[in-house]
Assembly symmetry: C2
Homo-oligomer: 342 residues x 2
């Protein structure tokens, strides 16, 4: 806050609030040098009060009972108040400026998101546990998946496994695509049944104590054409080379660029970012992309997920969740990446 | 658009885009009198192109390949361009104003959300189907739930039932609270096990072809104290009276106010809104609350969900999804509301 020369801040990003308050609850968090207030509504107040401690020094207010005067006084001594321009809606921005009589609103350029990039031990352990549940689920799926099943049945089994094995839930909507559907990187599971000769892309992750894992494996049913096998092994080699470059002080842009060059040699191209940060949100800062520079730092957790998609034919993506370390990264999702035929 | 005197619009609300394009995909929809463009990214383009037809007159663009000049020309002949102030973030608002060289940005005050309030036959049928799956799931739960099970296990069974019985998925994160947890209206399922004498609040809904259902039932295990039984029957009577008032031209505010008066007579108060619209979003316009006036119209679909919460003791909520009709509303969730002891 000193760097931005602000003396107060309005926090509206839900994951940032979760990070500060320790509860996933709708509301707005206000802070100044003197005071911290979390304005929420009646649905969450009991839970929030059960979670925060006296040391947190957070006052919890019900938005329905908030005295008009509290709005007027809260930022009264602040000259510059930070806002989260990437989460606050235009209407809320205007409302808050008016309600709090804010003299000068200052964009904070992902101030808290940047802090969240660097994980402490407890956060890393939660992500490790989420990755472990995901790995165990993948082992289970290799025995579970049979021809005749639908993509939806596989997605349901993943949810079931997570819930029965200690996860809070899904980190994101599970992607299970098969056959010709695999070329759509973000399609939802359908009633298409698994057939011999199919590729299956499974992109899934668990939540554990609020923290996410994110892993993709592409497996094959019965048999695989030589051409596809060769493509798979090419992507796998690219993914491994990218992983070996993920370490403290590396630039995500350089890593994505060199992978893009490898893809270009074969007339393919990265269709989406190479990776992203993982934490309370499954997609958070930094981004690993040839469009933007991000210097990786020890204790960041990022994905590495190159994929090639040939419409109407096949899509292959291989993704791990990776802990950035000083000399060598640590891959937290440990499931086998060699070509698997079930 | 004529009423607002705008000649172009930038649509950023995800459900509004789903309503117009027919696909759930991230992106921005632009329209003028002459042109419709959906700017999305590579993850969604194949699916969007498979869904829209030539009659939709929608150009689909990949944000990564969008020529600079397209931004400059799109709204070039527009004087006033509508924005969705309740969904666009402050940073996107600024970016779009700059990129498109917008002369005057106009708040559109939920223009599309208001259209979405009135459902056509296809939409109503989808919601009816979502409600039917939810009712069938409740019948199943009455046989399924046993003491010793956890709240999480019940929530998992709901998801499983939905997925195995034709739903696309959950309309929202299922709420299953039991015993003392029932007093938290919005708590997530925990590992608490169901005990004899517990109340269980189950608030759940399915998605069917993108449309939602929303129902809450409070049931009891083994036995129920007379005091709680009496409270349940009081809430049920209030809920039924409110339902009888839900019809064309009724004001949601009046309905909520008269229920609040009934609650006040017993020294209780409505802790959250009495109800909300249901459709592509599970929470959409209108709101039934004593804070705001909304005139109900034929073919709106709304919930009616009064609840009383006594911290540390018990919470009871009874909720239906209701189709507003000319003379009498039609309750679409048909599960038994009489006090059930399992």
């Amino acid at each position: 806050m000193k760097l931005l020369n602000i003396d107060g801040m309005i926090v509206t990003n839900e994951a940032n609030i979760n990070y500060i308050v320790g509860v996933k609850a709708e509301g707005t968090f206000l802070l100044t040098d003197k005071d911290n207030v979390f304005i929420t509504d009646a649905r969450y107040i009991e839970e929030v009060n059960n979670t925060i401690t006296i040391d947190d020094e957070i006052n919890v207010m019900d938005v329905a009972n908030m005295p008009e005067n509290d709005y007027l006084t809260f930022f009264a001594n602040c000259n510059r108040v930070g806002i989260e321009e990437n989460s606050i809606t235009y209407s809320k921005y205007q409302k808050y400026i008016r309600l709090f009589r804010i003299k000068e609103a200052v964009e904070t350029n992902n101030l808290i998101e940047k802090q969240r990039m660097l994980k402490d031990n407890e956060e890393i352990n939660n992500i490790k546990k989420a990755c472990e549940i995901t790995d165990n689920c993948f082992s289970h799926l290799l025995k579970f998946i049979k021809t005749g099943m639908t993509e939806k049945q596989i997605a349901l089994e993943i949810y079931k496994f997570f819930m029965e094995n200690g996860a809070d839930g899904l980190a994101f909507d599970t992607i299970v695509t098969s056959g010709e559907n695999t070329s759509k990187p973000h399609a939802m599971p359908t009633d298409r049944t698994i057939k011999n000769g199919d590729a299956i892309v499974i992109d899934f992750g668990a939540k554990y104590k609020g923290y996410s894992s994110d892993m993709t494996r592409t497996i094959f049913v019965g048999n695989v054409e030589n051409e596809i096998k060769e493509l798979y092994n090419f992507i796998l080699a690219c993914q491994k080379r990218a992983t070996s470059k993920i370490k403290d002080n590396a630039d995500g842009k350089d890593i994505a660029e060199s992978l893009e060059k490898e893809f270009n040699c074969r007339h393919y191209s990265l269709m989406h970012a190479l990776g992203h940060g993982v934490g309370l949100d499954v997609h958070e800062m930094p981004i690993l992309s040839y469009r933007t520079s991000y210097i990786l730092k020890e204790n960041m957790v990022v994905t590495n997920e190159p994929g090639i998609y040939i419409p109407g034919k096949v899509g292959i993506r291989i993704e791990d969740t990776i802990l950035v370390k000083k000399l060598e990264s640590e891959t937290l999702t440990k499931s086998d990446k060699n070509l698997i035929i079930i």
